[in-house]
Symmetry: C2
Subunit: 138 residues, 2 copies
């Protein structure tokens, strides 16, 4: 029931934006966020794939933000962190053919779930990482 | 990661609205929805508590919708089914006091999560159970 992929990804991105000129490691992030390093590495790799951060391998390597925080919307982070799995899900059960409600339900539920997602995307698209950064107390 | 409380509650409500003048049992619903009866009973009891359906005990008892479907919004169903647990959750980790990002993050994340929730409520408040009922093929 508890999905922390998006909040933890936001935390990672704000941390990297705050330390914009430094290279950080996933282990450093895991320590500060007090979160399982495997989970952090998984989210970091999605953020890299989405082009929001870049990763340098080897000694002295690490990760850093790859864009201006003002050019990264919370929708970008949301989509990267949730990948193909939406927050809400329609139950994938076989249809009871004799029941008109059952026959129509998959389409009805998909409509609602996609509507909620699109509405959330539009909301998050209005906020940037740079807006969040301003809220970090100096 | 997969949260079906809301979609399954919508399915229950559409079924009850479709069979508006009949009493149904949780077991009947579980059979048609092909879902665990304990899960159905839990959701039914939340919908009863929210005043959206009414339950009659004893022989010949059952549940039925307690209001006009046009007077039940999807927000009502959403709030009843999710109870106090929101879809998104802010990680409840101890703060790393030396880190300004960590110190501000709880407030930043709460703001985002509450904003998403309020945005979803506003979206769902515009749709009623009666709108869904019209989409059930005759």
């Amino acid at each position: 029931m508890v999905d922390t992929r998006f909040p933890v990804s936001v935390h990672i991105m704000v941390s990297l934006a705050y330390h914009q000129n430094e290279l950080m490691s996933s282990d450093q992030l895991a320590k500060v966020l007090k979160t399982n390093p495997t989970f952090i590495r998984k989210l970091v790799s999605r953020l890299v794939e989405a082009g929001l951060i870049e990763s340098f391998r080897g000694k002295g390597g690490g990760i850093r933000i790859s864009k201006d925080p003002a050019a990264i919307s919370l929708k970008d982070i949301y989509l990267a962190s949730l990948e193909e799995k939406q927050m809400l899900c329609t139950p994938n059960k076989p249809i009871t053919k004799a029941c008109p409600v059952s026959c129509s339900m998959q389409e009805i539920l998909c409509g609602i779930v996609n509507g909620i997602e699109a509405n959330t995307h539009a909301y998050l698209d209005k906020m940037t990482l740079s807006d969040l950064l301003k809220k970090v107390s100096a």
